[in-house]
């Protein structure tokens, strides 16, 4: 029963090769090994004096955690001017005062010694991964002056569109820097991160029920929870709420998790379906097949055969006329075109899940319906051709009538907020003209439909911007500003970003830490930390409540930082005005009077605060038309600051049924909405839908394009040369790839099933290791067709044979002295998955295919 090898007692470092059934002694070692001496004793003396009972007791103040996109309302405990603790905001109905592990880690982010203290500029003109930028500190004035000069050059040459603003994570203050700045300056290029995030996930519900957004889930009333790559106990969405009710969910519901890795949620589920990465679509259509053949669809939602007899017999075509459909569109066509042959036996071959289990789960799910949740997540659809998997998995909710039903999958309540004031009047002719140029990410081109909300080029194709910049297609980018983004780390095919940034003539990076992207910057601007140093608000939902939550400046920043989305645009506007272009500054001054005092902001901090108040006025200002209409009535701005959160009324299921914003107004199995969108895109390029599908690398042709259907997984690399399928997953400690520099992250990393503390292991099933002659703990080189990383091998039963898994978030060669093994030599701790993941897409949604086992790899002893 044991797998013991040798004893770790003699081994000084945590990443020992031992994986035994014994206590693994570790800690006290490795990077944090302490070295004698030091000034700590002095501080302990200081601490002792401040510890007197007379010390201020401290207070709890509100803010928001943006460690994942759940965006939980939190409270921060402030004592002696320092943030020392974090808890859930008790005023929040969404997370009801609970938080996951992430907000705690934020304390180590805000106080990280590796944060950038002051603006800095590059003194080594040569750019490249292997060039030391030789950053030196400069003043804010000099920094803004440098950026303004470069931007003014563009204006002088009438090429303002060659400016790009890259946006990573954001708050709802985003439109100031992301829209107003480029548009008033004269560029179309606000390029967001959305397409490396989860756009394919929104594709599914949009082209079935007309909802381009994340869904909410009625966990407390559900009787079956079927997770598609979703790992709500560990990562987005609604993590704290999911954790807090999971015991109850386990008591009253069956839980099945589709994931090639035994995820945190799979570990607490009744069924684990370790699907072959990228084959979720096959599994989903087979489940739909079972639900129909077993006669378990929702009669109420979908309708029924007029004669009552179930004619969904495997392999048999059904006459559309004999089925009377209710709130859905095209169930029989879906059956005839796709489902009739998608038997569990067929799917078993395709996706690696036994037919028997597929049947069991499908029947269990359908029998529990409508109190059943088919929970789609990026894992099951941020894949090459993943848009259709998103449709298929979400369509199950339509089939069993669990969409918009008690205990099912829900849309959202309205969270009102005022939008950015109209800036058209501040756009001069050059701005007006140039901001209508094509965008740099090539969205809407034949090969990149990016059909967000039904519109060709409606969405972003984030990761393609690198190639477009390199190819100068549609034009060259000369000046770029990026904020809260690290595309040279977070986009697959990182080498392209490194090259594009190397060739970029001028780049300013707004960030808390000197990250991979900063390494290529000419100017780096230190950003305020969102949770402790910044005024903003976000909108989100969980537990059937929508909410708006403030991020507040709860401590005085230790360093000379500015708020990225508000203060920095203001300062840039001031600088541009100084250099002769004052439209932006005028806009900020004239359109952002403080809603409380009516005063025009005179400096960046006043502007930041005025803007938040302005956008959120409907939450706290009784004179606003929307005040109290959709939820809480907060008693003025001070009350909002105190409570920190505005809660909507609770979502009531049932209101959306029959009012789906699709082309037919119904839940579409045959998506007229998608048909229209594809036709529109084809028309734009004077071609056919089939040609579009060919150009975008889907296998379907004809009518199949409009229904949820199986698309085979697309993988880079030949199976002979690259025998294993690589896939990645998220960490319950990831603050979106920004927490690897926290010692608490490293010291608790094994809270992610299969992972190891202070490491970034590649997880492999022992069966494969035996075949390859590899041992647990060995250092291995993982090579895909586009690159290789070197990491430690972990043998674990919780990963599917034939596949290898690694968590995203580590492998930083910059960011700080913990995240990087050697910052100066640019040696990463672990390996960044995006070095080996190819820049592949689900082109219909524009999404980056970071999941689905898009890369095959070979693994050798390093």
């Amino acid at each position: 029963m044991t797998t013991s090898t040798k004893n770790p007692i003699w081994e000084s470092v945590n990443r020992s090769s031992t994986r035994r059934t014994f206590l693994k002694a570790a800690g006290g070692t490795g990077l944090l090994a302490a070295f004698g001496g030091g000034p700590l004793l002095n501080f302990m003396a200081v601490a002792a004096t401040t510890d007197s009972k007379n010390a201020v007791a401290g207070k709890w103040v509100a803010s928001t955690c943006q460690g994942c996109t759940t965006w939980c309302p939190v409270q921060v405990h402030i004592r002696d001017g320092r943030a020392i603790s974090v808890r859930g905001n008790p005023h929040s109905k969404a997370n009801h005062g609970k938080i996951c592990p992430r907000p705690h880690l934020a304390l180590q982010q805000v106080y990280d010694p590796d944060r950038i203290k002051v603006p800095m500029k590059r003194t080594n003109p040569k750019k490249g991964r292997n060039e030391d930028p030789k950053f030196v500190p400069i003043s804010w004035d000099e920094a803004m002056g440098m950026i303004a000069d470069k931007m003014m050059e563009l204006r002088t040459n009438d090429e303002t569109h060659k400016f790009v603003l890259f946006r990573g994570r954001y708050s709802y203050m985003r439109d100031i820097i992301y829209s107003a700045v480029p548009k008033i300056f004269g560029s179309p290029n606000g390029i967001s991160h959305s397409a490396i995030c989860a756009e394919a996930e929104k594709f599914g519900p949009y082209y079935t029920e007309g909802f381009w957004d994340y869904r909410d889930y009625d966990l407390e009333n559900a009787r079956y929870v079927l997770c598609w790559g979703a790992d709500p106990l560990s990562s987005n969405r609604q993590v704290p709420h999911a954790i807090s009710v999971w015991g109850k969910v386990q008591d009253q519901a069956q839980i099945a998790v589709v994931d090639p890795r035994l995820s945190a949620t799979a570990a607490k589920a009744n069924e684990w379906l370790p699907v072959l990465p990228g084959e979720d679509g096959a599994l989903a259509v087979a489940m739909a097949h079972v639900i129909l053949t077993e006669g378990l669809w929702s009669r109420d939602f979908v309708g029924d055969f007029t004669e009552g007899q179930n004619l969904f017999v495997p392999g048999a075509t059904v006459d559309e006329l004999v089925f009377e459909e209710n709130r859905t569109n095209g169930v029989v066509r879906w059956w005839n075109l796709e489902l009739k042959d998608r038997t569990p036996e067929w799917a078993a071959e395709q996706c690696g899940i036994p037919a028997e289990q597929i049947r069991r789960v499908a029947i269990g799910f359908a029998k529990a319906a409508p109190r059943a949740i088919s929970w789609l997540s990026p894992g099951a659809c941020m894949q090459a051709r993943g848009g259709y998997a998103a449709m298929a998995t979400h369509a199950l909710n339509g089939l069993v009538g669990s969409t918009d039903h008690l205990g099912g999958v829900l849309q959202k309540t309205k969270v009102p907020a005022d939008s950015i004031p109209d800036y058209a009047a501040y756009q001069d002719e050059m701005a007006e003209h140039n901001s209508h140029q094509k965008k740099i990410d090539q969205r809407g081109t034949l090969a990149f439909p990016a059909l967000k909300s039904g519109k060709s080029g409606g969405g972003v194709v984030t990761n393609n911007a690198a190639d477009a910049m390199l190819n100068k297609d549609p034009y060259e980018i000369k000046v770029a500003i990026a904020y809260w983004a690290n595309f040279a780390f977070s986009c697959s095919g990182t080498d392209r970003w490194e090259e594009a940034l190397t060739k970029l003539p001028f780049f300013a990076h707004i960030t808390t830490h000197a990250s991979e992207m900063s390494h290529f910057a000419d100017v780096v601007l230190p950003a305020a930390h969102h949770m402790f140093e910044k005024w903003s608000f976000v909108k989100s939902k969980q537990n059937l409540y929508g909410y708006a939550s403030l991020t507040e400046r709860v401590v005085q920043p230790m360093w000379d930082v500015r708020q990225d989305e508000t203060e920095i645009p203001w300062m840039l506007a001031e600088k541009l005005a100084e250099k002769g272009f004052d439209n932006l500054h005028k806009y900020f001054k004239e359109q952002f009077p403080d809603p409380e005092t009516g005063k025009t902001p005179t400096n960046s901090e006043e502007f930041a605060l005025a803007a938040v108040k302005k956008f959120t006025r409907s939450h706290w200002d009784a004179t606003h038309g929307d005040y109290g209409k959709y939820g809480d009535k907060l008693n003025g701005w001070a009350d909002y600051v105190d409570k920190g959160v505005w809660n909507s009324h609770r979502f009531k299921a049932g209101g959306v049924r029959g009012k789906f914003k699709t082309a037919t107004g119904k839940f579409e199995f045959y998506s007229e909405t998608l048909k229209k969108a594809l036709a529109g895109h084809a028309e734009k390029h004077a071609t056919t839908v089939d040609e579009v599908l060919k150009a975008t690398n889907y296998t379907a042709r004809g009518e199949l394009a409009f229904i949820p259907h199986f698309e085979p997984a697309l993988r880079w690399g030949d199976e002979k040369e690259y025998p294993l399928i690589f896939f990645e997953h998220r960490s319950r400690l990831n603050r979106e790839g920004r927490s690897a520099n926290c010692s608490w992250y490293q010291a608790h990393k094994n809270a992610d099933p299969g992972d190891e503390n202070w490491d970034d292991v590649l997880k492999m099933n022992p069966v494969d290791a035996t075949k390859l002659g590899l041992k647990n703990g060995e250092v291995v080189k993982v090579t895909s067709p586009i690159g290789s990383i070197t990491v430690n091998l972990k043998l674990w039963e919780g990963v599917r044979p034939g596949t290898v898994a690694k968590c995203y978030g580590q492998g930083h060669w910059a960011y700080g002295h913990v995240a990087a093994l050697d910052y100066q030599k640019r040696i990463p701790r672990g390996g960044n998955n995006n070095v080996i993941l190819p820049p592949e897409y689900d082109r219909l949604s524009g999404s980056t295919a970071r999941h689905g086992g898009v890369a095959r790899v070979k693994i050798e002893k390093a």
Partner: protein, 316 residues
Amino acid sequence: MNTEIIYEIQSGPYWDWRVALDLFLGGAGVGALLFAVLLDERFKGKYQRICRTAAWLAPLLVGSGLLLVMLKMGRPFHLFLAYTNFNPASPLWWGGVFQPLMLVGAFVYAMKWRGDHAQDAGRTWLGRLLVPLAVIVGAYHGMLLSVIVARPLWNTGPTVVAAMLGFASTGIAVVMLVHLIRMKLAGRLADEGHVAHFLDDMLVVRNILVAVLLLQLGTFFLWWLSLKFGALQDQQALAVANEISGPMFWWLGIGVGLILPLVLGAIAVWLGEAAHRRLQVGVIGLTCSLILLGGFFFRLAVLLGGQEDLPVNITF
């Protein structure tokens, strides 16, 4: 079925070679003292020099062991706290009481060997008084480990017996070895008279030694048996200890420390009077060295091997 358990705790060893050396030196010191008292009783002042060697070795060894263990402490200067706070449940606390007591006693006893007194009633009585104290300290060295329920390797009766046999063998060995060296340096093999007579007289010592070594072998065997066929945790403890310090224990502790000396002893007996005197002396020296080496390494092996914790037997 594969079971992997990960539980990351502070890495050991919590007690390292310094503690093993303390156990070894302390044990040898106890043995030396008992040896001195025994010789004095048996030969009534006939072998004053070796007695003196033994008597002086006792406080020296116990003292240096104590010093080492103090250096191992996180806060050695707080040791006095053991004397202002009483915890009779803790063997370590008793050790803190008895070991210094014995050190003082042994030192006074050694002082009594100054000058050329064949017989000294006070010394004899002090020696007799010190015997139980020394035995307690010797037993303490075993108790210290054996009371720790958390460490199945140590938590046995043989732990105490082995420690006590250990002080007997290493005590004799260290005295004989040091005495031989001392005499060698002084240019005389044995001032106590003809070496053959000395060795003849020492036969009783040899017999004791052989008996102790054999008993120790038996004790180790019992120890091994009780673990090997004991509860699951005992078996696991043995397996873990074998992984960590098995070779040290079996090769150095048993092989070098017990088997070889017994073999050498047998050869010496077989050679008998025919053998050259020097050879015999050499054999004695070598045997004593091996016993000492083994005595240290068996303690180190047990100390290190017993510390690495066991599988967390999750019984629920």
